[in-house]
């Protein structure tokens, strides 16, 4: 009976098992095919991009005629003029401009409050990854001397209940108001003044005039933090103790006619549906007025695609602006990309001639542009640093973008300027009116996407294919290596007909199943070391008065010392000189465990931040697959093996320096305290890149050791 049972599975395994066995036995071929397919699909993404469409029916963009008229333009001009005249005056400009804006706001009947904040240096903290942005614990780092002052104006909606709001943000430097900043303030003011009169408003409007003296992001972030995390009396008393309350408010209230309208407290207006950051630059464009959209927030998060769609639709179809998103300029003139684009174009033509239904060819120029945009989209998402003050909103689940409007010529001509203000104002009015229609939060459209042009996107379902193809080879290779390691086992194939053989079989079983545990221990050790290395900067930046160079040197030294210490503590045996056969088996097991760890890591990363995972996979997958013990290769002096060694070393060098460079850059900026991006993103990027680093290092070590 036992024999028959043993024979049954041999007879015919199920098709899925056979498929698995087939894949595992041809793992080399399979992995090569998968990797090439993955890279090819990545290159094909601009072709596969779909046109955007507005997915939420409630939005109805552009269905109403704009009410923004030349009257509002003259209002804007009035503010701009008085701001520039204020700027020409030498004294006390910092508070003066704020008071001016507040006066203008209160003339419109808005609620006004000032928000004082202290810029804080960004701290890198290792344990904050999964917790929410915290309220109190980083308050120690405030410097009392320097503070910024945001001015906030709120219009209560006649049809609203005060539970929802739309935010307009105009960052400007209060010490020196540039012409572009003055214009952006003017546009925002004119829209604001229009919105005080309209009857259709269902959401409150908050106009945040952010003081960008210490960076645009810091000001917006400080306001958002105080908006969402109310400070209760105990803490505020503490704060008052730390920093003696300066009498800014009193200063501001002096001479103010509209004293009654300015509130001491922090004004709120419910949850924010959307935030629009408005900026104006002038004179740089050659062809026509244009609008640049910046959307990348921290950690490669994007606002809902519908928001970009609305802005794009209104700008192109209503105001005739040219909409741009960031591109990688260096790629546009790239030769091979052009050639690839032409090949794809001709392929598309051929396909069209075969069957007119097939329309996947796009012009070569479009392809190159799409690829450049896609590359920059990937780059900024992978970097994890927000591209503007809108990034602060995403941490509180608010969809936000930065709209940078730029005009064709310098705005000296009055009529030109009025026209520009009119178009900008109408665009913003249209966006606000559209968002005002929204019944819930933005949820209908995509959150996970890559842009290839303002009106084309690649959704998560498509770009995941490229990634999945790239990493699909990893589990298969790991499985085949694991199977190999067991096949090499000498006692495995022995016939078990006699009790003695059974006994020896039993003897060999126990170590066999535990062997991978040993390999797993080594990999765990190296990963732990990687984690320690990536957490070290936090402890190093606690050391006071340290220049970036010395702290970097300390970091390198500590990390190189920590490996032997760790291995000592955990009692891992770094033994050499074992017989060749088990050594090889150990090696295959080790590689299999390393590859599976890399696979798990990459899959996790792809959920957190796709772009990082994609770039990491491009670097790491070939590396993991090619990794071989150096010693064995060098011993057998053949040309092929030598080539392989050379390949490995080259890949190792290719993989290591960028990671090293990036971590170095991150460390420098972190230590210098000049990081603009929030430390979340830095933590994230450093963490992710270090994970890549330590996987490389894992590969390196194992290779050089054995």
């Amino acid at each position: 009976m036992a024999e028959s049972e043993a024979e049954v599975p041999k007879a015919k395994p199920r098709p899925i098992v056979r498929l698995g066995i087939f894949l595992i036995s041809h793992s080399c071929l399979f992995s090569v095919i998968c990797c090439t397919a993955g890279v090819l699909t990545l290159l094909l993404l601009p072709v596969l991009a779909k046109n955007t469409y507005i997915s939420e029916n409630a939005l109805m963009p552009g269905s109403a005629n704009p009410m923004f008229s030349s009257q509002e333009v003259s209002e804007a001009n009035r503010l701009v003029k008085s701001l520039t005249s204020l700027d020409s005056k030498p004294v006390g400009s910092g508070i003066e401009s704020q008071r001016l804006i507040a006066e203008y706001m209160s003339d419109l009947g808005a609620e006004i409050s000032y928000h004082k904040f202290y810029p804080r240096s960004n701290q890198f903290h290792p344990l904050h990854f999964f917790s929410y942005p915290d309220s109190g614990s980083t308050r120690e780092n405030v410097s009392c001397i320097s503070h910024g002052l945001n001015t906030v104006g709120i219009i209560r909606a006649p049809r609203g209940d005060g539970k929802e709001a739309i935010v307009l943000v105009t960052p400007y430097n209060s010490l020196k108001v540039g012409p572009g900043e003055a214009l952006s303030l003017g546009i925002a003011y004119s829209v604001f003044s229009l919105l005080t009169q309209v009857t259709w408003l269902a959401k409150d409007i908050i106009w945040l005039v952010a003081d960008s003296r210490y960076g645009e992001y810091a000001a917006v972030n400080a306001w958002l933090r105080d908006y969402h995390m109310p400070v209760f009396s105990g803490l505020s008393a503490l704060k008052a103790e730390i920093c003696p309350v300066s009498n800014v408010h009193n200063e501001l209230k002096e001479n103010s006619v509209t004293e009654r309208k300015i509130n001491d407290g922090f004004r709120r207006a419910g949850t924010m549906a959307t935030a629009l950051v408005i900026k104006v630059t002038d004179g740089s464009e050659h062809f026509e007025d244009s609008l640049s959209i910046y959307a990348e927030a921290s950690n490669g998060q994007m606002p809902n695609l519908d928001l970009i769609n609305i802005v794009n639709y209104l700008a192109v179809h209503r105001q005739g602006l040219r909409v741009k998103v960031e591109k990688m300029r260096s790629l546009i003139n790239c030769k091979w990309l052009k050639i690839l684009g032409e090949i794809l174009q001709s392929l598309g033509h051929v396909a069209k001639s075969l069957n007119p239904q097939w329309k996947f060819g796009i012009p070569a120029k479009d392809y190159v542009e799409g690829a450049a945009t896609l590359a920059s989209s990937l780059y900024y998402q992978a970097l994890g640093v927000p591209t503007g003050p809108h990034g602060a909103f995403r941490d509180y689940e608010i969809d936000a973008i930065t709209m940078e409007i730029s005009s064709r010529v310098a705005l000296n001509n009055k009529a030109r300027k009025n026209d520009f203000l009119l178009r900008g104002g109408r665009l913003i009015e249209g966006v606000i009116r559209t968002v005002n229609n929204l019944l819930e939060k933005f949820h209908q459209s995509f959150f996970l996407y890559l842009l290839t042009s303002p009106s084309k996107f690649v959704s998560v379902g498509v770009y995941m294919i490229a990634f999945a193809l790239l990493v699909a080879s990893l589990p298969v290779v790991a499985a085949s290596l694991y199977a190999d390691a067991h096949k090499v086992d000498p006692s495995f194939g022995i016939d078990k007909s006699t009790p003695q053989a059974s006994a020896t079989d039993e003897l060999s079983i126990t170590p066999r199943s535990c062997k991978w545990l040993n390999a797993a221990k080594k990999v765990f050790l190296v990963h732990l070391w990687g984690a320690v290395v990536s957490f070290l900067p936090y402890f190093i930046c606690q050391i006071p008065s340290c220049t970036p160079t010395t702290s970097f040197v300390v970091w390198v030294l500590l990390s190189s010392f920590s490996l032997p210490i760790l291995s000592l503590i955990l009692g891992s045996s770094f033994s050499y000189g074992r017989p060749s056969q088990p050594q090889k088996r150990d090696w295959t097991l080790l590689k299999s465990v390393t590859i599976s760890a890399a696979f798990i890591g990459l899959c996790l990363m792809s959920v957190i931040n796709f772009a990082t995972a994609e770039i990491g996979a491009l670097l790491m997958v070939p590396m993991c697959l090619m990794a071989q013990p150096l010693k064995l290769d060098i011993r057998s002096r053949k040309l092929r093996k030598f080539l392989r060694v050379a390949c490995n070393l080259a890949l190792g060098f290719l993989g290591f320096p960028p990671a090293g460079f990036f971590v170095l850059k991150g460390a420098f900026e972190g230590f210098g305290g000049i990081t603009v991006g929030d430390f979340w993103s830095w933590l994230e990027s450093i963490w992710s890149w270090s994970s890549a680093t330590y996987l490389y290092i894992a590969g390196w070590f194992e290779r050089t050791r054995s």
Partner: protein, 475 residues
Amino acid sequence: MEPKEQSKEKKEKLWFWNWVIASVIFRLVLIYFPKNLNLASRPEVSTPLTSLRRLAEGYWLKQLSMSPYAGSMYHGSPLLLSLLGPLTVKRIEGQPDHLLCSLVFVIADIVNAMLIRATGQNLQMEYTRSLKLLDHVKLSEKPEIIPSGDIAALVYLWNPFTIVACVGLSTSPIENLAIILSLYGACKRQAPLAAFGWVIATHLSLYPAILIIPMILLLGYGTDTPPRKLFLQRRNVEVGDNPPNDRCCEREEVVHRSEVPHVFSWRPVIHFFCWTSLWSVYVLVLCGISVKQYGGLWELFKRTYGFMLTVQDLSPNIGVLWYFFAEVFDFFRNFFLIVFHGNILFMMLPLAIRLKHRPCFLAFVYIAISSMLKSYPSVGDSALYLGLLGLFVNELADMQFSFFLFCGYVGVSLLSPVMHNLWIWRGTGNANFYFATAMAYACLQIILVVESVSAMLNHDRKLRKPLTELQDGKN
């Protein structure tokens, strides 16, 4: 030779204790970072039943002389409330909150590990003895027999799930303590202890009630042995083998002795039942006293067991029921409640018949199944069955897919917080993301149970093989 071996043994013992102490230190270090880790609010760690925060709330209500079950916050036992409740209120200046409770959980974990170790030593002794009886002398004397008790204890102590459950202020270490206590008592055939453990475990979390079958088998037959058939076969071989002479009587005796543990002895079982009824009356009286003002025992049952069985709280956890019952139509709800809970009961009998010679392993399988299908599972339950899995290292040495399972557990336990973060904090994901990891986790548990059972049956087959061949050779 002997002193060398002794020193080696000593060294191994020292090694074991070093790791135990290291695990305690590691826990204490983690206890001092409760704010940063924020483990107590993770849905994987604290469920509505095991959360200490809810217990503190219940205690607060009770202090205000209100029913601790008012407001659907607390759903645990009133005994736990009066044991742990005072500790939740006591604060020591400059120390983290709930320090005393954390210390209690650490102690519970250590006691758990020690009990697992003792059970493992018992099992291993029995294993060696039965191998000797089956004449696998070579096997039993080989040095490779792993001290499964030590391994299991260390696996339990160093399992990240255990550490997280202990540091994350969930009461699951205490629940696990009751379960392990009952298993230990049954292995040692101490009916009062086993009954006490079983009654408390059932009282605390209800699902361990199904462990009564392995308890009875353990008390009746003794601990895990190879199937009874093998011993009979062995006897046949020997009886046929030996010519009738003086040694025959000796052999007979040996064989009879070998059969002794396989006769079902009723005495300890009846003892067990007596003690069980005694303890349950005792527990019920205590509960009755403590909830007398608040609606009596019926209210208690409704608020605790009723809450467990009807799955009222649909907040996300690592199980699969919350999602299902959030989606299901209300008029099917009762039907599916019966189906899901019946599922556990349906699997009990077939498994009990197939694995009746290995009651400890049967208990492991039951715990794994119930922790997969229970209404509010947490990682503390997984910690328990993964620790018990370590008891069967020798038998399950050639389990298939062990590496795959390991990778799967690592992957799922890392993916689950990430998905939760995407869903709750970032807003880019949704409930399906998190539920996907819960399903993957359930699949992993199913694979683990199926593979471990089949590996155990294969092991029994392997033990039979030489006997069959011996018999065949003679015939």
